[in-house]
């Protein structure tokens, strides 16, 4: 890590700021690239790709975000530690995302009694709730009829 070299003014010979200056056409080119990707993502929304849709929009958005971070935010020429901060924070978001979804997406798979969204006072199902799936898929494996996801509509039969 390049950061170890910094003491009081020891990082640069003359102690003056030396930042990278990009040219105006370069910035405009990056902007045009961003516009192109925006057009692409809007265009693909008119085509139904099913489950691939969400993957594709996130991939395009990530490309756009990388352009902004790399060139507009100067990460390309910046201290590597600043890059590490940026990437690192994304990793922590990934942990947050993945671990939470690991619960919410697989909740109640092994215990059909879990995960029943009921308003106890009246016994009525909460508004919303997971729409019934035609293919009650994992029922045979888990030995119950519970739906994956927290908001199963299965009401206990009193």
């Amino acid at each position: 890590m390049s950061t170890a070299q910094h003491g009081h003014g020891l990082s640069h010979d003359d102690g003056a700021v030396h930042a990278h200056v990009s040219s105006v056409p370069f910035y405009i080119a990056v902007f045009l690239g961003l516009l192109f990707l925006t057009g692409m993502t809007v265009g693909q929304s008119y085509v139904d790709l099913g489950k691939a849709n969400i993957v594709l929009v996130v991939v395009i958005a990530t490309m756009k975000a990388s352009l902004v971070a790399t060139f507009f935010m100067h990460l390309r020429w910046d201290d590597k530690f600043n890059v590490l901060i940026f990437i690192g924070s994304l990793l922590f978001i990934g942990v947050f995302f993945a671990y939470t979804l690991k619960d919410t997406d697989r909740r109640g798979e092994r215990d059909p009694d879990q995960n029943v969204h009921v308003w106890e006072k009246t016994g009525e199902a909460a508004p919303g709730g997971m729409p019934k799936k035609e293919h009650a898929a994992p029922a045979s494996e888990s030995g119950g009829s519970a739906l994956p996801g927290a908001a199963g509509m299965t009401l206990p039969q009193h």
Binding site: Q5, V24, A65, V68, G149
Partner: protein
């Protein structure tokens, strides 16, 4: 100067380092914009940068909560999300995206002109950025207005009026209020960031007009631009996730 040059020194009672005099003699040194506790402009600049990046990391984590909520509900109720997102105005969203991207360009150029010491262009570009930010908020206001008219509101207040809904779109499930909760929280928190961004852009614009920045000292412009890019960055994800799925 390398690290070794400093560390591999005498063990006891070395004389004071040259250039590090007593504070009483050198209570202040260098240009006015160099704060008392920094030794060199480079140190001040690097410190500001690292501080800002750490702050931006914090911003990302702040938004991450909303994205996780989005992910969880999107994965639970994909059909509801698709039906609800049809109610959002794709054209307005796309326009806003272009507006924000353009403002990102202008603020990046503002930094560039500040780096070469062109105060006039810096001022103009910052003003353009502020203009774009206001335009974004105006468009957002009209979008919100449509949602209010249609009763497409968060959670408890969700009461859709059929006559205001987009024609030919799939029917909305009962729990669509959850989508609009997430929509309003995400765009609302983002909107607050835009507002704060306008505030800090005005602040650097005033300072730029006062002639406080130069080739040697443009840190505040750079820092504020970084913040503004982050606002753009978040919107780059919000737009497709809310409008285009």
């Amino acid at each position: 100067m390398s690290r070794e040059a400093v560390t591999a020194a005498h063990v006891d009672s070395s004389p004071p380092h040259a250039g590090h005099g007593a504070h009483a003699d050198a209570a202040h040194h260098g240009p006015v914009w160099l704060a008392h506790h920094f030794d060199t402009p480079a140190q001040q600049f690097d410190t500001a940068k690292i501080g800002m990046w750490v702050f931006l990391a914090q911003e990302l984590l702040f938004f991450s909560g909303l994205f996780v909520a989005y992910g969880v509900y999107r994965s639970w109720y994909p059909e509801m999300f698709i039906a609800a997102s049809r109610q959002l105005n794709k054209e307005m969203g796309a326009t806003n995206t272009v507006v924000l991207l353009f403002s990102s360009l202008t603020v990046a150029l503002a930094v560039r002109y500040s780096q070469v010491g062109n105060r006039k262009m810096t001022g103009r570009l910052i003003l353009t950025t502020i203009g774009c930010a206001c335009m974004f908020l105006v468009i957002k206001f009209f979008e919100y207005k449509h949602k209010f008219e249609g009763g497409l509101l968060p959670g408890r207040f969700y009461h859709p009026h059929l006559e205001h809904l987009v024609h030919g779109s799939p029917p909305l499930p009962d729990n669509t209020g959850s989508f609009f909760s997430i929509y309003f929280m995400m765009t609302g928190v983002h909107g607050i960031h835009v507002l704060i961004g306008i505030g800090v852009l005005i602040w650097v614009w005033i300072r730029n007009n006062r002639g406080e920045f130069s080739k040697e000292y443009f840190t505040p412009v750079d820092i504020v631009a970084l913040y503004w890019h982050l606002v753009d960055l978040v919107w780059i994800y919000l737009f497709p996730l809310l409008y285009l799925i």
